[in-house]
Amino acid sequence: MSVIAARNMTVAIGGRPVLRGIDLDVQDGDFVALMGANGSGKTTLVRALTKLWPLTRGTAELFGTALDRFEAWHRIGYVPQRSTAASGVPASVGEVVASGRLSRRRLLRPMSRADRAAVRDAIDVVGLTGRVRDPVSHLSGGQQQRVLIARALAGEPDLFFLDEPTAGVDLPSQQALAGALAEVKRRGATIVLVAHELGPLADLVDRAVVMRDGRIVHDGAPLADHEVHDPALGDPHTHHHHGRPRLSDHAPEIRLGPGGRA
C-alpha cells in the first residue's frame, strides 16, 4: 500500500520556490532517507507532508487520503528539527513523552492504562528507562533527541517523519537512536528520515532520496555519505556532461533538463 503519494508537489515560501514539482511514493514499511545539502528542501518537504506548510501546487496523499482532508494524526509520528526538548519551565522526560499520546487521548480524560504502557514502552525503546522523572533539561543533546523520538513513538504511529535527529548528536546517542529506529522498523512502521549524514543509521536505510534545489535528483539505492555530496548529482554549478554516472534505473521522477540538469 502506498503510504505517501505526492504528485507535482510545489511549495513557495515568500514567493520563492522551495519545492519544485516533487513526485514521491513511499510504500508501507519503507525506510527512506531524505538527503541533500542545506537548503535543498528536505525539511520543507516533510513540513508540507505534515501540513505545517501549505502546498502551492500539486497534491499529496497520506494513507490514501488527500492531505487537505487528512485527520488521522494518530497514524503520524513527527520528530521536528530541534536542538533541545526543553522549554521555559522544567518538564520531566515522562511528561514530554506523554504529550506524544495526545493524538489518541480525548479531552479531559486521564491517561488510560494503555496510554501509560505506551509511554513506558516508548521510553524503554530509546534506552532512557529509569530517567522518566528526570527533567529533560538535565539530559545531553543526544538524550534529548531520544526523548523527542520517544514522544513520537508513544502515539504508536504507522508513519514516522524524523527531521535531522542525528544533527549534533554524540556517537553513543546516535547508536542508541539507530537501535530505537531498528526496533520501530521491525514493528513494521514506515520511516522518512531527513539526514545530512547517516552515520550509524546507514544500515537501516532501504532507499535514499536525494534533493537539490527543491528537486529530487536521486531516488533509489542508499548512497554513502560522500556520494550524496558528489557534484555529479545534479549540482547546478558544475556541468558534467560526460561520464555522468547513471545513478538510478528505477527513478522515473527524474526529469533531465537542458544540459543534463535535474
Binding site: E95, L102, P135, L139, D170
Partner: protein, 334 residues
C-alpha cells in the same frame, strides 16, 4: 481592637478571599506564559488594560468589565502579532503597550477623574472591594484555574512544542488564543489585588521560584499556585499588620515583595541543585587514565563526600572532574 479582630472585619474577609483566588489563578496561567518564554506578556496586557479601566471611568460603566474586554482584545492582538512572527514583532508589542498606558491616563483625564481613582487600578486597592467585586473575582479566577488545570496536557504540549502539537492533531492556534484570553482575564482579576502595573509579578515570580526546585511541569504548576497563594494572602496579612501598627503599607507592593523574597531565598538552592545535576552527567571527551587506588587517601564509599552516581551495576564517584568506579586495585574512568 486586636489584630485578630481586624482580620475578622468584613472588608478584610473579602480581601482575603480575593487574595486567595487571585493567588491561585495568576500563577496557573503564568506557568504556561513562562513556558513559552513570554514572561513580559502579562505586563503588556496590564498596560493595555489601563485604557480599558479609563474607558470604564469615562463611560460610567464598571471598569472591571471594560478592562476585561480591552485586555482580551489586547491579548489576542499580541498573540496574532506573535504568531505572524514578524521580524519587528517585539517593536509592535512595545508600541501597543505604550499606547495602552498613555491612552488610559489621557482618557482618565478626559473623564474628569482624578489620578487617585486610576491609581486604585494601577497599584491595587484590595481593601475597597465590595461583595459583588469579590464574587466576580472568585468566578473569573475559578474559570482560569479550571481551564489551566483541566486542559493541562493539551496546553502543555502546545506550549512545549507547537509544531509537534499540530502534527499530533491539536488545534494549537485555539490553545494559544485560550492562553491569551486566560492571561487577560487573570490580569483583570489581579488588577484589584496587586494593580495593573504589578500584576505580571504575581503571574511570573511564583513560577520562577517554584522552578528552582521542581523537576516536572506538573509540580511546577502546583507549587507555583501554592506559592502565589502564600504570597498574596501573606502579603495582605503583612500589610494589614503593618497598618495596624501604624505604618502605611500598601497591599499590592507587599504581596509582590513577599513573592520576590521567596525567589531570593530559593534561588541559591536552585543553583546548588542544578550544579549537582550537571555533575551527574557523564563527562564527555575526557578519559583520563585509570589510576591506582593508592593515589587516594581513602576508599570511595557512601561516607566519602564525593557525589555518588548510580551507573548500571555499580556506583561511580565524581572526583576532580572525572568519574571513578572502583575496580580491583584501581579506578576505572567513566
Amino acid at each position: 481592637m486586636s489584630f485578630a479582630e481586624l482580620l475578622s472585619l468584613p472588608f478584610m474577609q473579602r480581601a482575603m478571599l480575593a487574595a486567595l483566588f487571585t493567588g491561585l489563578a495568576a500563577p496557573a496561567v503564568g506557568t504556561y506564559i513562562v513556558q513559552r518564554r513570554l514572561a513580559l506578556m502579562g505586563d503588556g496586557i496590564g498596560h493595555v488594560a489601563v485604557t480599558g479601566v479609563a474607558l470604564g471611568l469615562l463611560t460610567g460603566t464598571s471598569p472591571t468589565w471594560t478592562a476585561i474586554v480591552v485586555a482580551i482584545l489586547g491579548a489576542v492582538l499580541i498573540e496574532v502579532i506573535r504568531e505572524r512572527g514578524h521580524t519587528n514583532g517585539d517593536l509592535a508589542l512595545a508600541l501597543l503597550f505604550y499606547g495602552g498606558l498613555a491612552g488610559g491616563v489621557l482618557i482618565t483625564g478626559l473623564a474628569g477623574q482624578s489620578a487617585t481613582k486610576l491609581q486604585q487600578y494601577l497599584f491595587g486597592s484590595i481593601l475597597t472591594l465590595n461583595a459583588g467585586d469579590v464574587l466576580v473575582t472568585m468566578g473569573l479566577a475559578a474559570l482560569v484555574i479550571v481551564v489551566c488545570v483541566g486542559l493541562s496536557p493539551q496546553l502543555f504540549a502546545a506550549s512545549q512544542d507547537p509544531e509537534f502539537a499540530r502534527v499530533a492533531g491539536l488545534n494549537v492556534r485555539a490553545y494559544n488564543l485560550a492562553i491569551a484570553v486566560l492571561a487577560a482575564v487573570s490580569v483583570t482579576v489581579a488588577m484589584r489585588t496587586v494593580g495593573l502595573l504589578l500584576v505580571s509579578a504575581l503571574m511570573v515570580v511564583p513560577v520562577a521560584t517554584s522552578q528552582q526546585l521542581t523537576r516536572s511541569f506538573r509540580t511546577t504548576l502546583g507549587a507555583a499556585m501554592v506559592l502565589g497563594t502564600l504570597a498574596s494572602v501573606g502579603g495582605l496579612i503583612v500589610a494589614a499588620f503593618a497598618s495596624y501598627r501604624g505604618a502605611n503599607v500598601a497591599t499590592g507592593p507587599a504581596i509582590v515583595l513577599l513573592s520576590l523574597a521567596g525567589f531570593v531565598v530559593t534561588w541559591p538552592l536552585g543553583v546548588w541543585l542544578r550544579r549537582r545535576a550537571r555533575l551527574r552527567e557523564p563527562f564527555l571527551g575526557v578519559t583520563p587514565d585509570e589510576h591506582e587506588t593508592t593515589d587516594h587517601p581513602h576508599e570511595h564509599g557512601p561516607e566519602c563526600g564525593h557525589l555518588a552516581v548510580p551507573h548500571g551495576d555499580h556506583v561511580d564517584y565524581v572526583h576532580d572532574g572525572h568519574r571513578h568506579a572502583p575496580h580491583e586495585r584501581h579506578y576505572d574512568e567513566h
